[in-house]
């Protein structure tokens, strides 16, 4: 029976009342009795030997409880691990507080704990550090050259790893090809910028040896595991709570120094310790994203057939390896370099490079935006070179519709795909023919407008554990759920996913209500507390509904199965004659012989007449590990106007047609697309983390880093096609990252299209007004020569 809250309905969110009334508890709202406040002293130098750290002045400052140097606590703090390990990869030591050498601006060198945050900040300014400043390197391509400053003794030439993937024989294909196009592309460094920065509160009970960490994280269970691994504190005595989390976008997906520091110091002092990141502090101490220098090429024939793609990438990892960093520019970049196209020949080489910059890890899309950018820019350059319309080159090269798997040349198998309808729908929404007419007219009036397409396929539903492990993952990537039916028939759902804006409570209530046939409001969903849902992996890689939702779905089936056995026993009929629908168990063909959900649940707990050998109670636990990733796809279109006097770009229209398989809550999925697209427009037009040559973060505050405002983005035009996956029983693929993955190449393709008559072939992001003004001026000058 379909209801207003069934799977597929736009149900307004269960989360919202607490959020719109100011009653949510974010990390900075956690206050404990006797809580002290930590301030972290950070290096102002990108690269330096630490000669001396003197915390005497800080320790004597009013209100100070304690002050520690890295050397004081090096044994207790251990080293932060890389959770993704590639073959022949270097794993440099990563002390949470540096004690010999600092390697980026923001590297921690001391921590001061005081009665108030203000007293801690005052005292932190009194810590005296003597540095022997060393030359720094911030650019990944420069860092691998002979003579470049060396960050870690065990990573010669700053190369952390060299990684390759491919299929076919690109060099042979290029030799035979009629056309080879080449381009250098910079995918600039970005700062993820959840509006809530990070923070930690740690509490320690000396009598029980229990540590409780509240932390603004996407992965409470992995924080528990990694905290225990780093500090040696017994994992069963670590409880991690992700309170309300104010956005993440990948940058809250790791074990961070401050989680270890606060936990260890709370234990040393036996009192609660709180650390809240300032924004400028976070810009230095929270991971960045992207930062690729790529030499890329595509080959094919004059008829528009693409035969191969090749990329050589210098991926900037920053000064140390963040938890998932090695997996991002490799596995999540290289395997989909064929995109949605028949791409028989793929060659991908990636150098993972250490530099004197903030560590780089996943940022929404994480490798896949960089991948899609390379493909979709190249497709446009190739189209131009071969004289074909970019829509026709895409259509000509799409993999034909498939429903039961398609192995691509890199060796991975896409689950299901039907790429042409999404392109057709997007072109229909635009009215492509009319746009080209308008563009001709605009040009004759001296206006610069252009259209950019981006067709993509992404790796989501992360991940099948065995596959991920073979590629370097250090932990299984299954997801876990618990469904606990209370004796009153109400249902508590516990999930290991850890939402931070995605509305899992609502979506999981819809799944539970639909499957069990109980009222929506009779379900409550709990997440983000390792003492409630004891096992889990977390929220990232568009995995929560595809993996976590499936784990829930499977627990619900187990509950129904047990309830049916109870009903069969009570009604005295064979199990196979019992059906369940919308709250009623009935004997098939004899509907009047039935039991209500409440009666069966009551029997499960009263336990006075259960089938022989059956345990009382009604709850189920599932660990779901998918057999494959999921592979959403779609086509986005941007229409851009560039002011030729100022160089300013404006997005006139943005059309997104995505296929994420079946959808649990279309309102929430649309919201995911909106947010991702805005971030993609940000990357395309304005965002960039900029370092000076000596390693100072020049875009170091929200005044310097250009986040999109409401004025910078248009109203979006969305639609979907639906191609379910067979990787999970609900046919869902995951929808968290389509926007960032598809958007930025559409923006740049539109800009280049707007300037194509001036001979412009490529512009690197971000398309700032100054850059576009210079591009237009230079192009016009070249034409008049």
């Amino acid at each position: 029976m379909t209801t207003a809250t069934s799977i597929g309905k736009a149900v307004r969110r269960h989360e919202d009342p607490r959020l719109i009334s100011g009653n949510a508890t974010y990390i900075d709202d956690v206050k404990l009795l006797g809580m002290a406040h930590a301030a972290i002293v950070r290096s102002p130098h990108a690269h330096a030997n630490i000669l001396n750290v003197d915390v005497t002045g800080a320790a004597n400052s009013p209100g100070v409880v304690a002050a520690f140097t890295g050397a004081d606590v090096q044994e207790q703090l251990g080293s932060l691990p890389a959770g993704w390990v590639l073959a022949d990869m270097k794993t440099p030591n990563h002390p949470p507080i540096a004690f010999e050498k600092v390697r980026y601006v923001g590297d921690a060198v001391a921590v001061v704990v005081a009665e108030t945050p203000q007293a801690a900040a005052d005292a932190a300014s009194l810590v005296e550090v003597d540095y022997d400043v060393l030359p720094a390197v911030v650019n990944a391509e420069e860092a691998v050259k002979d003579g470049a400053p060396q960050l870690h003794d065990d990573a010669p030439n700053n190369i952390d790893f060299e990684w390759e993937v491919g299929g076919g024989d690109y060099d042979a294909a290029a030799a035979e090809a009629e056309v080879v196009v080449k381009q250098r592309m910079i995918n600039q460094r970005l700062i993820p910028n959840p509006i809530e920065e990070r923070g930690v509160v740690a509490d320690y009970n000396r009598a029980t040896d229990q540590i409780t960490l509240w932390t603004s994280t996407q992965i409470p269970h992995l924080v528990r595991l990694l905290f225990a691994a780093v500090t040696g504190h017994p994992e069963q005595k670590v409880r991690v709570i992700a309170p309300e989390v104010g956005g993440g976008f990948g940058c809250k997906l790791y074990i961070y120094a401050e989680e270890v520091i606060c936990g260890v110091i709370a234990k040393l002092l036996a009192r609660p310790v709180k650390w809240i990141s300032g924004r400028q502090e976070g810009y230095q101490a929270t991971t960045h994203g992207r930062d690729h220098i790529a030499d890329v090429e595509m080959c094919g024939n004059r008829d528009g057939t693409i035969t191969g793609i090749k990329t050589t990438v210098y991926a900037n990892l920053g000064a140390y390896l963040s938890t998932f960093a090695p997996g991002i520019p490799t596995v999540l970049f290289g395997f989909t370099l064929g995109g949605p196209y028949r791409m028989p020949n793929v060659a991908c080489k990636v150098y993972g490079v250490l530099t004197n910059t903030t560590p780089v890890d996943a940022y929404r899309g994480a490798g896949r935006p960089e991948c899609t950018y390379v493909i979709e820019r190249l497709v446009d350059i190739f189209s131009k070179e071969t004289g074909h319309d970019p829509t026709e080159v895409r259509r000509k090269n799409f993999i034909p519709k498939f429903t039961d798997g398609h192995e691509v040349s890199t060796g991975v198998t896409y689950d299901s795909g039907d790429y042409e309808p999404a392109l057709d729908r997007a072109l229909e929404m635009l009215d492509y023919g009319a746009f080209r007419e308008e563009q001709r007219k605009a040009r004759s009036e001296g206006r610069l407008i252009g259209v950019g397409l981006s067709s993509y396929v992404e790796i989501c539903g992360i991940a099948p554990s065995a596959v991920a492990a073979s590629l370097g993952a250090g932990a299984g990537l299954w997801e876990s759920s618990t469904v606990r039916v209370h004796p009153t028939g109400k249902v508590a759902v516990y999930t290991g996913t850890s939402p931070h804006g995605q509305g899992h409570q609502t979506s999981f209530m819809q799944i539970t209500s639909s499957e069990l046939g109980v009222p929506f409001e009779d379900v409550e969903v709990f997440h983000g507390d390792t003492d409630k849902q004891q096992m889990g992996t977390g929220t990232f890689g568009s995995r929560s509904v595809a993996v976590g939702g499936t784990a829930l779905y499977m627990s619900l089936q187990k509950v129904i199965d047990k309830a049916k056995r109870i009903a069969a026993h009570q009604m005295g009929v064979p199990l196979q004659q019992v059906s369940y629908e919308s709250g009623t168990f009935y004997v098939e063909d004899i509907r009047e012989r039935n039991m209500s959900w409440g009666d069966v649940v009551g029997e499960a707990y009263s336990a006075k007449n259960l089938p022989p050998e059956m345990e009382p109670g009604l709850e189920a636990v599932t660990f779901f590990d998918p057999q494959n990733f999921t592979w959403p796809f779609g086509t986005h279109i941007a229409v851009l106007e560039i002011d030729q006097d100022t160089g300013e770009s404006k997005v006139l229209r943005y059309i997104a047609v995505d296929d994420v398989g079946n959808v649990v809550n279309p309102m929430i999925v649309d919201g995911m697309v909106h947010g991702g697209v805005a971030q993609g427009i940000g990357q395309g037009l304005q965002e960039q983390a900029v370092y000076s040559e000596d390693g100072q973060l020049l875009s170091g505050s929200m005044m310097d880093y250009a986040l999109p405002t409401a004025e910078d983005v248009p109203t979006f035009e969305l639609d979907r096609t639906v191609t379910p996956t067979d990787v999970n029983p609900m046919g869902v693929k995951g929808a968290g990252e389509t926007g960032t993955i598809a958007c930025s190449p559409a923006i740049v393709n539109a800009a280049v299209d707007a300037l194509s008559h001036l001979g412009v072939r490529h512009v690197d992001m971000p398309l700032t007004a100054e850059k576009m003004w210079r591009t237009i001026r230079d192009a016009k000058a070249a034409q008049s020569d």
Binding site: S21, G22, Y26, Q280, M702, V713, T715
Partner: protein, 156 residues
Amino acid sequence: MGHEISVTVNGNSYTNVVEPRQLLSQYLRDELNLTGTHVGCDTTSCGACTVLIDGRAVKSCNVLAVQASGADVTTVEGLADGDEYHPIQKAFWNEHGLQCGFCTPGMMITAVDILSNNPQPTEAEIRTGLRGNLCRCTGYHNIVKAVQAAAAEMAG
């Protein structure tokens, strides 16, 4: 070295002794435990801390608590009328104008200010009015729709 201040917040009168450097945002959060007002930056950029001071939207991280003495302040906790949500709260809920919720209090307060000055704003006017408040989740799409919906409801 404290200063005594008297402030009305959400209709309640408070008298406290505060440090001269204490920000209004800190006063609301730390002294009054009104933690619905969020702090998302340290450069008066994000707008998460926006409150109404004497009816005008102001970023409370850029006001000293002592400067607010004598003022009438409204925070997100004061938007609803008892159990009845303010039209802007209802609209944010109905239109899915929030995801993580962190920017939402400041965003709603700014929207209240926009609508009090301009009860029937155009989309462009709404976007301009919101440009001092950053949201990283929604792409502003549904926030704009929520402000439009609230405007319609408030017009009756």
